[in-house]
Every structure is written in structure tokens, then in C-alpha cells.
Amino acid sequence: MNKPHASNTILYLDGVSVSFDGFKALNDLSLYVEEGELRAIIGPNGAGKTTMMDVITGKTRPDKGDVIFNGGVDLTQLDEAAIANLGIGRKFQKPTVFENHTVFDNLELALKGHRRPQSSLFFRLSGEQQYRINEVLGIIALTDVHMMQAGSLSHGQKQWLEIGMLLMQDPDLLLVDEPVAGMTDAETEATAVLLKDIAKTRSVVVVEHDMVFVKSLDCRVNVLHEGSVLAEGSLDVVQQNEQVIEVYLGR
């Protein structure tokens, strides 16, 4: 694992530490994701996966370390909204959609741009934007239910709607936290295909427990343990790593 230069990466975490009341959630974590890469992060509960996401998206400020996006933007100085508008999209562990809005409105709210209150008061959807929403509805297979309230969707549909909202944001980097939790096998397979497809045009970081799913992503894997990276490589390689077997897979 050799350390690349920040300017060559889309996401560059170096020596990041976060502690909560003495508990070290992240401990000198370093992680580098290259442009256009699909990357999977695995690790036991409490390894710091969600905290890492929080640090990247500005929800948590690191105690120390560098978090640099797209070759030069220091993310530790920005808040969530600014980071989102830079082009980083995040899907939560628990699917979080706007339950009282329709599927269509959920996608519309995620539409890139138009974030200022003044203009949103008089906002009208253009034909092009309407087309884009319909396109995404097709991708996430929710066209038929686009007028339904998001709250009444099934769990898997909510997961897909949230991925659809990420697509509407048109980000350069997607952070996807456990996208297939609670999905059927068929849905899981379809999600893998969808994410691989998305990774063709942008960088994607996936946090997941499901080994079958990670395997089907067929990408580089980082193993997190106690707040830092234990191993990195293809899934096959890290599965052979003795330390990894000890702390995680072998348990």
C-alpha cells in the first residue's frame, strides 16, 4: 500500500483520527481512492466505517489528519451541504428518503443545482429535468410507483430510491453504506450490476457486510479494524491475510 499524491486521487484520507469521549473511532486511518474506481470497505461492527463516512461528508470533524477531495479541496473545512454540492453523494446505512413526499418529488429534490431558498420559491421543472427524472426512475425501476408516497415503498425500493437520489445529484464520488441490507438475492444481484454500471462514470465507495455481494462487485477491498486499515487488495487476497482472518472472517 504505497501512498499516492493527493492530487492524483478523488478521495485522499491521510492519518485521520476521531475520538468520542476517549473512544478512538478512527485511529490514524489512511485511505486513497482513485478517480473512476469502485472500492469496497469491509470490517466488523465498530470498525469505524460509518464514522469514516461522517468524516468525509462533513458530519464529524476529525481530531487530526487530512481529508482531501478531487486533488485539492480540504473537506475538513466544509459543512455537509458544501461537500454535497462539491459532488459527493452519500447513501445512509438505514435507507433515508423523504417519506411524506412522492417518489417523483424525492428525485426532484435531489436534482443537481437549485439549492438556494430564493430561487426554490419560484422554481419550475424544465422539460430536460423532467426527462432526467424519468430516466432515473427507469434506472431504479420505480416508474410505475412514481406518484406513490416514498414512505409506502418496500425496504428494497427505498434503498433503490436513495441510490436514484444519488444519481440525480450527479456526484463525482458516491459513498454507499450497506446498500443491500434487507434485499432479496435477486435485488442484491441487480444492485451489484447497478453499482458497477455507475462506477463506469464516477468513483464509488461501498461499505458492506455481505461477502457474496462484495465478491460480485469484483473490486479492491479495504478491511477496517479498530479505526484503521488492516489490509487492502482484492477480496481473495485480503481473505488470505492472517490478521484479517483472526479479527474478522475467522470469528
Binding site: K59, E80, A81, F92, H101, L109, P117, F123, R124
Partner: protein, 387 residues
């Protein structure tokens, strides 16, 4: 639905249509029945009823303003009485200046309470209140500015939920204490009263009472339309998104604090206008309007009527205040039990308020479908509702 003009959208909703037509009808009919019919006629509306109804309508506007922040944006303000009272004080200050030398002490320069406290000159913040236009500007500006500054600090630091509720309560409590002080220059404990006229028209005249009633009714209608425009816009969808999943909204790139600040300020301005219409009808404004209990009571009007709908709070304010007038007269001991019970009952059993109860919403839903089919038969032939 967003592409349709505002009025067309409202017309499709029987509940809104019914309520707004009743309000507009009353705005014209009540003053006419008061002014044009002889007092012995069976249809004559006595002047005190006109004023009482007018007072209820200002409460309805106040409830609407609370609903905008609480029902749609999830901000439970327990300090909206403060904005109402500030609007009222601005109006009261104008009317105090209108008294001129007709006060008890006959001092043309100073209001009576200042003469009583041996003040020598008018404090600077009373300047300008001789002018009706300036006073009306202050009615809007003072509550708006307070809400803006307060909201700026609170929302930027992400004070949310019950914490926000508690500090809004602290805000109105601090103002209550401040306005009680004589040296604040707002009449202390007694507040401002003994008003004579507005723009030269006597407050006690039937014409003035009818006019204030008319303005109050139209203010509620206008307030409804303004709120409706806001909640139907994309901004309205963003604030509902904030209410339901604040951090999701942030991660989508919205600056949540700006949206909150916008609705909070608009809401405070509406509350201020309500206060300005309230004071000339009741003839007094004093610090008790700032009391935290008053602000919480507003919330119960909204909760009972139905938050997150714009018709609900109007109905809630009218129903609760009518009940209050009736029971504090007929069974004063019982009223606080009833009000207390109302808080508990509506939170436990009416989470969506009166307008959200199944019986009522079903009845109106049926009307809505019938009306919608009548207006746009083609949409329904296709089986969708159309956008």
C-alpha cells in the same frame, strides 16, 4: 400539481374552498349585517360580536403562522406569542401617539405613563410612531428582525427539536420580564391602552370595528394564500424534507439553516401582523402577551385543528377560542381542565388534528374526487391524477 396556478390548485380542495369562501363571505356579510340592519332586527350582528369575531380571526392568523414553522418545517416555536406581541406593541405605540394631548395629563409630547413616571422626553425608539406608515413598517420589521436574528444564531448552530422549543420559550420569557420593567418605556405592567383612534377614525365607532373585522378576515385569507404559495413551491417541499429527515436534506446539499430562517422569519411577520390587528380590537397590549403560557396555547390551536394542513390551524384557533369565551363565562372553574384535557386528548388521539380525522377527511376526499372529475375529466379517464 406544481405547474397549475395557485388558485386552481386550491379550487380542487373542497375543505380549503369551503373555508376560504366562508371567510370571504363573512368579511363582507358580518360588517353589512352590523352596519345596515337596525339593532332590533333578528339578523343584526351586535358590534361586540363583530369585535369578538375579529379577535378570533387574528388568532387564526397567528395559528397559521405557527403551523407554517411547526407543521411544515418541524420547528416547534414556544415563543410565537412574542412576535404577536411585538407587532401589537408597534401598533399600540402608533395609537398612543395618536392620543396626543387627549390623555389624562393632557401632555401632547408624552404618553400618560411617561408623564406619570416623570419622564422628560420621548425615548428615541418612540420616534416615528406618529406616522401610520412607519408604524406599519415596524409591525412587520420588528418581529421579522427578531426572528431573523434569533433564527440566524439558533439554526446556524443546529439547535433543533426540544432544545429549540425551550430556547424560544426562554426568548419570550426574557421579553416578558423586560417589558414588565417601567424603564423600558413601554408602559411596564399596564402596557399601552386608552387608545382613541387610527388615522383619525374613532376606535369605538361601529365603522372602525367593522373595518378591523374585514381586515382581519382578509388577512387570514391572504395569510392562507401566502402560506399555500410557500408550501406548494419547491421551497415548501424542501422544508417538509427538513422536517422529516433533516440530515438527509443536508447531504443532498441544501443549506437547511437558510430554509428554516426563511420560514421562521415569514412566520414571525405573519404573527406580527396578527398582533397589530388584535390590539386595536381588544384596546390594550400589555406584557402578559409575552407569557410562555400564551405561546403554548397557540400551539394547541394548531395541534387540535391539524398541523401540516393550512385549514386546520384556522379551524382550531376559531374552535378553541370560541370554547374559551363560552366556558370562561359559563363555567370558569372548568375551563382550565378542558384546555389541559384538550392538550392531552389531541396529542394522544388526534395526531393529525380535527381536519385529519378519518370522518372529516373521508367526507372531503369524496367531495374532492367529485370536483376533480368535474374539472379535469380527462385525467381521470386515464386513471392517473396527472401532475
Amino acid at each position: 400539481m406544481t405547474h397549475q396556478p395557485l388558485l386552481l390548485r386550491i379550487v380542487k380542495e373542497p375543505m380549503a374552498v369551503s373555508l376560504l369562501s366562508v371567510l370571504i363571505l363573512a368579511a363582507f356579510l358580518v360588517p353589512m349585517l352590523n352596519l345596515m340592519l337596525p339593532s332590533d332586527s333578528a339578523f343584526h350582528v351586535p358590534s361586540y360580536v363583530v369585535t369578538l369575531l375579529g379577535k378570533y380571526l387574528t388568532y387564526a392568523l397567528l395559528a397559521l403562522s405557527v403551523d407554517l414553522v411547526w407543521g411544515y418545517c418541524g420547528i416547534l416555536s414556544l415563543g410565537h406569542g412574542a412576535f404577536f406581541a411585538l407587532g401589537g406593541y408597534a401598533m399600540g405605540m402608533y395609537m398612543m401617539r395618536q392620543i396626543g394631548d387627549r390623555g389624562v395629563y393632557g401632555n401632547a409630547e408624552l404618553p400618560d405613563f411617561m408623564v406619570f413616571l416623570n419622564w422628560q422626553e420621548l425615548p428615541w425608539y418612540w420616534y416615528g410612531f406618529d406616522s401610520f406608515g412607519f408604524a406599519m413598517l415596524m409591525v412587520v420589521l420588528v418581529p421579522g428582525l427578531l426572528a431573523f436574528v434569533f433564527g440566524w444564531f439558533a439554526f446556524r448552530s443546529r439547535v433543533t427539536g426540544v432544545y429549540l422549543s425551550i430556547i424560544t420559550q426562554a426568548m419570550t420569557y426574557a421579553l416578558l420580564l423586560a417589558f414588565f420593567r417601567n424603564d423600558m418605556g413601554f408602559g411596564g405592567n399596564n402596557g399601552l391602552t386608552d387608545f382613541k383612534d387610527i388615522l383619525g377614525f374613532g376606535l369605538q365607532t361601529d365603522g372602525m370595528r367593522a373595518t378591523l373585522f374585514f381586515l382581519s378576515a382578509m388577512a387570514v385569507v391572504t395569510g392562507y394564500l401566502v402560506c399555500r404559495f410557500i408550501v406548494d413551491s419547491r421551497l415548501g417541499r424542501v422544508i417538509v424534507a427538513i422536517r422529516d429527515a433533516e440530515s438527509r436534506t443536508r447531504f443532498l446539499g441544501y443549506r437547511v439553516e437558510y430554509y428554516k430562517l426563511f420560514v421562521f422569519t415569514v412566520s414571525a411577520v405573519l404573527a406580527g401582523i396578527a398582533g397589530a390587528l388584535y390590539v386595536p380590537q381588544v384596546g390594550i397590549i400589555n406584557p402578559s402577551e409575552f407569557s410562555p403560557a400564551n405561546s403554548i396555547e397557540i400551539v394547541i390551536w394548531v395541534a387540535l385543528g391539524g398541523r401540516g394542513s393550512l385549514t386546520g390551524p384556522i379551524i382550531g384557533a376559531l374552535v378553541v377560542n370560541y370554547a374559551k369565551s363560552y366556558f370562561t363565562g359559563a363555567l370558569p372553574e372548568v375551563w382550565l381542565f378542558m384546555l389541559g384535557g384538550l392538550f392531552i386528548f389531541s396529542t394522544l388521539f388526534l395526531p393529525k388534528g380535527l381536519v385529519g380525522t378519518k370522518a372529516i377527511s373521508d367526507a372531503f376526499e369524496e367531495q374532492r374526487l367529485r370536483l376533480a372529475k368535474f374539472l379535469r375529466p380527462y385525467d381521470y379517464a386515464e386513471g392517473g391524477e396527472g401532475r
